[in-house]
């Protein structure tokens, strides 16, 4: 998957937070590499974008997402992070479905909500 990113294939990662009894929160991040700028671009659907000189910085930015949760007592929270295969070029959609390299492995466990000052 990262090889595809290096070859200029844009990837779309979807964050989805499901709270019991509430509307889910969803965020889609588009990862892209610019060969001209030699930088990685991260943009959010409906929002602004940033660029990174290194891939690790890009991945760190993807992993580090802040969500504003409804003000209520602690509730069970389910987070789903997935690669949106439908946004891949058609020729890659079938391999992305079958090839294990295209499976997005969550390297971080579910973290408790962090209060933002």
């Amino acid at each position: 998957m990262l090889a595809a990113l290096e070859r200029g294939i844009p990837l779309t990662i979807e964050w989805r937070l499901e709270l019991k009894g509430g509307e889910p929160l969803m965020r889609r991040l588009k990862l892209q590499r610019s060969p001209l700028l030699a930088r990685y671009l991260l943009s959010e659907e409906g929002g602004g974008g940033r660029s990174f000189a290194h891939l690790n910085a890009l991945l760190a930015a993807v992993e580090r997402q802040d969500f504003v949760l409804p003000a209520q007592d602690a509730q069970p929270l389910t987070v789903r992070v997935r690669l949106v295969r439908a946004r891949l070029p058609p020729p890659l959609q079938l391999p992305a479905l079958l090839d294990p390299d295209w499976r997005l492995a969550a390297r971080f466990p579910l973290l408790p909500g962090r209060a933002v000052p």
């Binding site: 200029g8 940033r50 990174f52 295969r85 439908a86 946004r87 891949l88 058609p90 391999p95």
Partner: protein, 706 residues
């Protein structure tokens, strides 16, 4: 219902075809237009192909079952289907292989080392250009920073405004981190909002004190340069400058081209796989479509033939009320029309034929009835010398049931019934020599009698070979003629001989009376002996003449119920005085009375008993056995009276002629006893027969009908 199903199938096919075409086109053209739709379209296409396959399998199973059940047209439909598939499959497979090879080759030709190198060079050139632009902007940035260092904070905006007016669209921002704007000057309305560095850039700025990058901004490229104006805690000066359009557009184009090439290079294998998959789906679609079309076509072609086959089968079963639908004006319509006309004509013909057959059957029944009622035997003999016809009279005269006669060859008939051999011999000879008409008298041995048949034959003309033979039993007629002749002889004998007897006897007695007194001694004795001889012989002749007269005399029967046992006892009582005679009686059975003339029967009994006694004349002890019993002859009931003796038995060559007059084995008999007895028996509708007795002697049996 089938129409809806067909319409749905067609719609599904069209939808599938369009989806596959669209899928193929989007995959060929690129990936952006198909984004998000590829997987659903592929799923729908796969499902449609599966549905099509299920539909075809269902139709094929139905077709195979119909063929196995032998439904009309199913086998032909199956054969045509296989033929069409054999025609379609090889070119389809060939096209598929060539198309696959062409696609893979075409994809491989997309990639070229020189193109890749040129694109890499383009990117390098773009980077160099950006670095140059960045260096120029940095130089200008340093000039502004130097001027700001020499001016008071309140004059900073004026300095920055002077730099903002110099060139390309840019934003000059003086701020106190993190986001306190001290001064902002922009040369473009789109840059009026402060463009603070992002989090990473801020960290970099904080760490290194300087930032100079090129980045995307507002759909184009921008240069961002920033640094603190002094030590820690001093404000940050930032310049954001949009690249001029004449630079940004070619750079973006170079980057997009490079990205596109890199993407294609990366997706090379996937592209081949996807194209192969799409091509396979299209091929499968084409194959299934061809199969479905072949099914529909063969069904359409064979349905009229199947209807024709079914109708033919019905016609073969004799159902002519069939009519095939005539659709269109093609050859099948012509065939259906011709078949309908043929069935109609066949129906009419069959009706006429049935009427003819009924008439023929009626005539045959009439002929059978006539044949069965004939007293004349009729035989049909075919070209293979087999009996093909035998009426009841023939069966009766030949002594065999009709069922055993018909179908039997003449040679087998002679083997089975030796007494029929003379008849068979003549029939075979006449059949083989091909006589057109012939007539012969045939005598068949029937025990002690012989059956006389007058046989007439004629050769069959026409398609059927063979002969027809009719024959009559002349036995009774011949016997009647013979009896009549004997009666006439007897009557003439009685008349011609009886009259001179009395004068002869009187003349002899007168001679003796006149001459006897004149003769003496030996002469007188000679005269007396000669006279006695003449008288005795005249008496004998008179007796014989009386017998002939009795034979010739026709007396009407006076029938009455007669208990034969009593009659026999009555007659036997007359012979009880003879102590040399032993009479055995077996008369105890339940014998019903017979309609007969007791006087004539008594005469028969006397004749038979006298015959039996005379046959044992030389025996010191004579014995006769009289037995009464019931018997069946040709389906009729008879009372049988047997008179058996223990004499020398029947003479050699004894046959029915011994029952005619003047046949006797006795030296003194005139041979009229048996003839008279036979005549009396026949007058009663019965028969007199003779047979050797077991242990010696003879048995004479009188059969009288009940």
């Amino acid at each position: 219902m089938s129409g809806w199903r067909g319409l749905m199938a067609i719609l599904a096919l069209v939808g599938l075809f369009v989806a596959l075409l669209w899928l193929a086109l989007t995959t060929t053209e690129g990936w952006t237009s198909g984004e998000g739709w590829f997987a659903p379209v592929m799923s729908v296409a796969g499902a449609a192909v599966l549905l099509l396959a299920v539909l075809i399998v269902w139709r094929l199973v139905g077709l195979w079952r119909a063929a196995r059940r032998g439904l009309p047209g199913a086998r032909l439909e199956r054969r045509l289907l296989v033929l069409l598939l054999l025609l379609v499959l090889p070119p389809l497979a060939l096209s598929y292989a060539f198309a696959l090879r062409a696609i893979h080759g075409s994809i491989d030709r997309w990639f070229d080392v020189s193109v890749e190198s040129a694109l890499a060079d383009g990117i390098a050139l773009g980077r160099a250009l950006l670095q140059d632009q960045l260096a120029r902007a940095e130089a200008e940035f340093e000039q502004a920073a130097a001027q700001l260092a020499m001016t008071s904070p309140s004059q900073a905006a004026g300095v920055l405004a002077g730099f903002a007016d110099r060139g390309a669209a840019s934003q000059w921002l003086l701020y106190q981190p993190p986001a306190a704007v001290l001064a902002l000057e922009a040369s473009d309305p789109s840059l009026l909002s402060p463009l603070f560095p992002d989090e990473g850039q801020s960290l970099l700025l904080a760490a290194g004190g300087r930032l100079a990058v090129a980045e995307p901004l507002a759909g184009t490229l921008a240069l961002r340069i920033a640094r603190r104006l002094g030590g820690s805690g001093t404000p940050v000066l930032q310049l954001v400058r949009l690249l001029p359009e004449e630079l940004a557009r070619p750079l973006a184009g170079v980057e997009q081209a490079s990205l596109g090439y890199q993407r294609l290079l990366f997706m090379r294998g996937s592209l081949k796989l996807t194209f192969s998959l799409v091509l396979s789906l299209v091929l499968l679609f084409a194959l299934l479509s061809a199969l479905l079309a072949a099914l529909a076509l063969t069904r359409r072609m064979t349905a009229p033939i199947g209807r024709l086959a079914a109708a033919t089968e019905r016609v073969a079963e004799g159902q002519f009320a069939v009519s095939l639908p005539v659709e269109g004006e093609d050859e099948l319509a012509f065939l259906a029309r011709s078949f309908n006309r043929m069935a109609e004509e066949l129906g009419a013909l069959t009706a006429r034929l049935a009427a003819s057959e009924r008439a023929a059957a009626a005539r045959r029944d009439e002929l059978d009835a006539v044949l069965e009622s004939l007293e004349t035997g009729v035989l049909g003999i075919d070209g293979e010398e087999r009996l093909s016809l035998a009426n009841a009279a023939a069966a009766r005269l030949l002594g065999l049931p009709s069922a055993e006669l018909v179908g039997r060859s003449l040679s087998r008939l002679a083997e089975a019934r030796a007494e029929l051999e003379p008849l068979v011999r003549i029939l075979l000879a006449r059949a083989r020599e091909g006589s057109v008409r012939w007539q012969e008298e045939v005598q068949l041995p029937r025990g002690q009698e012989r059956q006389i048949l007058m046989v007439r034959g004629a050769r069959l003309r026409g398609e059927r070979e063979g002969i027809v033979v009719v024959f009559d039993d002349r036995t009774v007629l011949e016997r009647a003629q013979r009896d009549a002749a004997w009666t006439e002889v007897a009557r003439r004998l009685a008349h011609e001989i009886k009259n001179p007897l009395m004068p002869i006897q009187l003349a002899a007695e007168r001679l003796e009376h006149k001459l006897s007194p004149h003769l003496h001694g030996a002469e007188r004795e000679l005269l007396q002996r000669a006279t006695r001889t003449i008288v005795s012989q005249v008496e004998a002749m008179r007796s014989m003449v009386e017998g002939f007269a009795e034979y010739a005399r026709a007396q009407p029967l006076r029938r009455q119920p007669v208990l034969l046992a009593a009659l026999v006892e009555e007659v036997l009582a007359l012979y009880e005085h003879d102590h040399t005679l032993v009479v055995e009686r077996e008369l105890s059975g339940p014998i019903p009375p017979v309609p007969a003339d007791p006087v004539r029967l008594r005469q028969v009994l006397h004749n038979l008993i006298k015959n039996a006694i005379e046959a044992q004349e030389n025996l010191p002890q004579k014995a006769i056995t009289v037995r009464l019993s019931r018997s069946e002859r040709e389906g009729r009931g008879f009372v049988r009276l047997d008179v058996a003796d223990r004499g020398p038995g029947l003479p050699p060559g004894f046959d029915h002629t011994w029952f005619e007059p003047y046949r006797s084995s006795k030296p003194r008999g005139v041979g009229l006893g048996l003839a008279i007895s036979q005549r009396i028996a026949e007058e009663h509708g019965g028969q007199l027969e003779a047979a050797p007795r077991e242990g010696g002697g003879a048995v004479f049996s009188l059969f009288l009908p009940l």
